[in-house]
C-alpha cells in the first residue's frame, strides 16, 4: 500500500492548499480594494502575508507526508509554487498600486 493512500490528507494539502490559498487571496484582496482606498492598505498586506504563508505551509506539510519515491512530489511542488508566485505577485500589486487609482 502506498503512502498516498495511508495519508491522503497530506496529498490533498499539497495539491489543494496552495490553490485554495491563492483563490482566497484573490477574492479577499479584490473585496478589500475599496476600503483600502478609504482607510488603509494594511489589511491587504496582511492578507497577502497570511495566504502566502498558508500556501507555503501546505506545500511543506504535503511534501513531508510523501515519503519514499523522491521524484514524485516534484510536479506537485511546482504546482504549489505557481500559486505561491501568483499570491506574491498579487501582493506586489497590492503594494505597488494605489488602491484609489
Amino acid at each position: 500500500m502506498s503512502s498516498v493512500e495511508r495519508r491522503p490528507w497530506r496529498r490533498i494539502a499539497l495539491v489543494g492548499g496552495p490553490s485554495s490559498a491563492w483563490a482566497a487571496h484573490l477574492l479577499v484582496s479584490y473585496l478589500l480594494v475599496p476600503p483600502a482606498c478609504e482607510t488603509t492598505s494594511v489589511p491587504l498586506h496582511v492578507t497577502t502575508a497570511v495566504f502566502a504563508v498558508a500556501a507555503l505551509t501546505s506545500i511543506v506539510v504535503g511534501v513531508r507526508g510523501v515519503d519514499g519515491d523522491r521524484s514524485r512530489p516534484f510536479a506537485a511542488i511546482v504546482l504549489g509554487a505557481i500559486f505561491v508566485l501568483a499570491i506574491l505577485l498579487q501582493g506586489a500589486a497590492n503594494a505597488m498600486v494605489d488602491p484609489c487609482a
Binding site: V78, L85, L89, A92, A93, M96, C100, A101
Partner: protein, 326 residues
C-alpha cells in the same frame, strides 16, 4: 534584423494618414504610454515566440537526420527552463511595468480636470460641458490640449463604450452608473471615435469625433455651445423654423431659445457647426442633411429617427433653418 522588422511594423501600424484612427499614433501622453507598453510587449513577445519556434524547428530537423535510438537525455530540464524559468523571467518584470503604467493612467478624476459629461444613447452620444444644462451638444467632444480631461460617462439605455484610439483606452457607459475616463491630449487635431461595446442594430453607426484644440479655442467653443440659437436670418429660414415645429422635429429635438424642447434626440441648437450627422456616419453637408431628414433609415438603418415626409418646399425651408443653426 529585429529593428528592421520593427521599423516595417511601425510604418504599417503607425503611419496612418491623418484622420485614420490608430492606437499607435498617440495624440497625447495617455495614448503614448499605452503605445509604449504595446511596443515593449511586442518585442518581448516576439522574442519568446521565436525561441519556441526555434526549438520546434530544431526538433523537426533533428528528427529527420537521426534514425538511431534517442539518447539518454531526459528532456525534463528543457521543460523546466522553457516552461517555468522563461515565463517567470519574462512575466515578473513585465507585470511590474504593467502595474506602473496602470497606476499612472488611473481614471480617478482630479480637482482641476476639465470635466465633460457623455451619455450614451442608442445610437449616439449626448455631450455636456461643466455639468452645464445649457452647454449641451452631441456626437462631437471638444477637449483642450495640454490639460487633463475627465469624461463622466453613463448611459440611459444599454451599455456602450467610449473609444478614441489616438487619445486613450476605452471605458464603458453603463446605465445606472457613472464611470470615468481621464486623459490628456497634446496634439491638436480631429480624432475619430467609436462605440466599442455592442449596443444594438446600429452599433456600427455609433461613432463620434473628438476635437482637440488650444485651451482658448476650447473655452470659446464651450461658451458658444452654451448660447441659445440665433434668430433665423432669412424669411426662408424663419419658414423652416415653423416647419421644424410643425412636422414633429421639435418633439424629439431641442433648439434652445425656441419652443423646440424635445429630449429624445440630439440637441440641434448648434447643429450647423458640427462636423457630422447621424453620430459620425456622414459628413454634415447640405445633401446629407436633406437625405437624413427625409429618410434617416436609408443612411443609418435601425436608428430611432423616423422618416419625415416633408414636401420639397418645406424641406428647402427646413434646410435653410438647420444650416443657420451655427
Amino acid at each position: 534584423m529585429r529593428r528592421l522588422a520593427l521599423a516595417a511594423a511601425t510604418v504599417v501600424l503607425a503611419g496612418a494618414c491623418a484622420g485614420e484612427p490608430s492606437a499607435l499614433d498617440p495624440a497625447g501622453g495617455t495614448a503614448a504610454r499605452l503605445a509604449d507598453l504595446w511596443w515593449l510587449m511586442l518585442v518581448v513577445g516576439s522574442v519568446v515566440w521565436v525561441v519556441v519556434i526555434a526549438v520546434l524547428l530544431r526538433a523537426a530537423v533533428r528528427g529527420r537526420d537521426q534514425d538511431g535510438e534517442p539518447g539518454a537525455w531526459s528532456g525534463q530540464p528543457l521543460v523546466v527552463a522553457g516552461g517555468i524559468v522563461l515565463p517567470v523571467v519574462v512575466l515578473v518584470p513585465l507585470l511590474i511595468v504593467v502595474f506602473r503604467v496602470a497606476e499612472g493612467l488611473s481614471h480617478e478624476p482630479q480637482q482641476d480636470d476639465v470635466r465633460i459629461q457623455v451619455v450614451g444613447e442608442q445610437f449616439w452620444w449626448r455631450v455636456a460641458y461643466n455639468d452645464d444644462a445649457a452647454a449641451v451638444s452631441a456626437n462631437e467632444v471638444h477637449v483642450p490640449v495640454g490639460r487633463p480631461v475627465t469624461l463622466e460617462l453613463t448611459s440611459v439605455d444599454v451599455i456602450h463604450s467610449f473609444w478614441v484610439p489616438n487619445v486613450a483606452g476605452k471605458t464603458d457607459l453603463i446605465p445606472g452608473e457613472t464611470t470615468y475616463l481621464r486623459f490628456e491630449v497634446d496634439r491638436p487635431g480631429v480624432y475619430r471615435g467609436f462605440c466599442a461595446e455592442f449596443c444594438g442594430i446600429q452599433h456600427a453607426g455609433m461613432r463620434l469625433v473628438l476635437v482637440a484644440q488650444p485651451a482658448e479655442e476650447f473655452d470659446d467653443h464651450v461658451r458658444r455651445v452654451a448660447e441659445d440659437a440665433g434668430q433665423p436670418d432669412s424669411l426662408l429660414a424663419a419658414e423652416g423654423q415653423r416647419v421644424f415645429n410643425r412636422v414633429g422635429c421639435a418633439d424629439c429635438h431641442a433648439v434652445r431659445g425656441t419652443e423646440a424642447a424635445g429630449v429624445a434626440g440630439p440637441d440641434l441648437t448648434h447643429l450647423a457647426s458640427r462636423r457630422t450627422i447621424g453620430a459620425g456616419v456622414v459628413a454634415n453637408t447640405r445633401g446629407n442633411l436633406a437625405g437624413w431628414v427625409v429618410n434617416p433609415q436609408g443612411i443609418k438603418p435601425g436608428n430611432h429617427m423616423p422618416p419625415q415626409p416633408v414636401d420639397p418646399e418645406d424641406l428647402e425651408a427646413l434646410l435653410a433653418y438647420l444650416e443657420g443653426l451655427e
